[in-house]
């Protein structure tokens, strides 16, 4: 899988203000079936490490603080 070099353009966008990964939450990382989400060593927040997504949405639905948004491509909506 390609590394997500430009995190702003990946499908899973994390609102760092809302993300509580720095408090120990790993829900999005745990539920992702593709294992493409990680907790950043720099910010201690969740981010999309690999640019691959099934748009299955558990990360968005299960996030306790609604910090994740999965931007589904128009043609898949």
């Amino acid at each position: 899988m390609p590394l997500a070099n430009t995190p702003t353009s990946v499908p899973v966008v994390v609102d760092n203000e809302k993300c509580i990964a720095d408090k120990g939450c790993t829900v999005c990382v745990d539920v992702c079936p593709l294992d493409v989400l990680r907790i950043s060593d720099l910010t201690n927040k969740a981010y999309m490490a690999y640019d691959e997504c099934w748009y299955c949405l558990p990360c968005q639905c299960d996030c306790p603080t609604a910090a994740l948004t999965v931007n589904i491509p128009f043609l898949l909506k």
Binding site: I20, D22, K23, G24, C25, T26, V27, V29, D30, V31, P64, T65
Partner: protein
């Protein structure tokens, strides 16, 4: 859910985290408590359900749904009157997840609550607990002005499967609200009471097609549904194909061979689902008198219909 929470099942540590000034830490503690699955987590989650932060209360209400027992039920019933509607909705959802019949003792008093939402949630939670004590409050709730409450009351009575509750369900089948009538028809079918078929059959003439659809479907599941076979055959001419489709399905389930030619007319209906069901029903009935109809439908434009027609023809022998 796996991950870091496996290492944080120390309840003292989590209780301490629940007292943190940081809402994020309290939220993570709730997730860890839910993940622990330990019965001792319930009192901690119950206290978190009273947190000043509504987001924390919401998280606690969701987490309590994965536990069971009177303490969880007590915390969730209290959360039904939370100031935040998101918390009350989550509490109602979680309460319905609890399946221990002993929870009924905690939930029953809330059926008489002045709020229609609380009454509805309490009745919904009582439904699958199947406690006979719920019958009287549910019968009282059948007179509630709110249709959502009456629907849940019908559900409680239906799940109890008591012969003495059939008159109440029969009366609900004539409710002013179509959704209540529909729920009553389904409850009557679920009860399998011999005296229920007549009321279900009457609903085949209901003014609302969803009620007629439920009635047509319910008769196929009813042990005495065959007594309403003429009324079901009459529904094959209903103006809504959804009703006709259920009538076809039920007539096949009840093995009403006399309906075969009337069902065969469904093979030329513009709705492919109708043609598909008609073919399947004729196969189930082994209706050799419909052979010509089936042969004409063998080249149907829809692949699913053709498949069912082929199967039906194979059943005729």
């Amino acid at each position: 859910m796996a991950g870091i929470f496996e290492d944080t099942a120390d309840l003292d540590e989590l209780a301490e985290a629940l007292r943190s000034a940081d809402a994020g830490e309290r939220r993570v503690a709730i997730l860890a408590l839910a993940d622990s699955g330990l019965p001792d987590a319930v009192p901690l989650l119950a206290s978190a359900a009273r947190d000043p932060d509504s987001g924390i209360r919401l998280q606690a209400a969701i987490a309590l749904g994965s536990f069971d027992g009177a303490e969880a039920a007590d915390a969730l019933t209290k959360a039904l009157t939370d100031a935040d509607p998101a918390v009350t909705r989550a509490a109602a959802e979680s309460l319905a997840e609890l399946k221990d019949p002993r929870n009924a003792d905690v939930i029953l008093p809330f059926v008489a609550h002045p709020s229609a939402f609380v009454k509805e949630a309490a009745l919904r939670a009582l439904k699958e607990l199947r406690r006979p004590e719920a019958l009287k409050p549910a019968l009282d709730a059948m007179r509630d002005p709110n249709a959502a409450v009456r629907i849940q009351a019908v559900g409680v009575i239906g799940f109890l499967k008591l012969e003495e509750s059939v008159p109440a369900l029969r009366s609900a089948a004539s409710d002013s609200d179509a959704t209540v009538r529909r729920a009553a028809i389904n409850a009557l079918a679920f009860s399998q009471a011999p005296s229920s078929s007549e009321a279900i059959a009457r609903a085949l003439d209901d003014a609302e097609w969803p009620v007629r659809e439920s009635a047509a479907e319910a008769l196929g599941r009813s042990r005495s549904g065959v007594s309403a076979k003429d009324a079901l055959i009459a529904r094959l001419d209903d103006e809504f194909w959804q009703v006709r489709l259920k009538a076809i399905r039920s007539l096949a389930a009840l093995k009403v061979r006399a309906a075969a030619i009337a069902i065969a007319h469904g093979l030329t209906h513009p709705e492919p689902n109708m043609r598909k069901e008609a073919a399947a029903a004729l196969g189930e009935l082994k209706a050799s008198e419909a052979l010509a109809h089936l042969e004409r439908a063998a080249d149907d434009i829809d692949a699913d219909v053709r498949k069912n027609v082929r199967w039906a023809l194979s059943q005729l022998g």
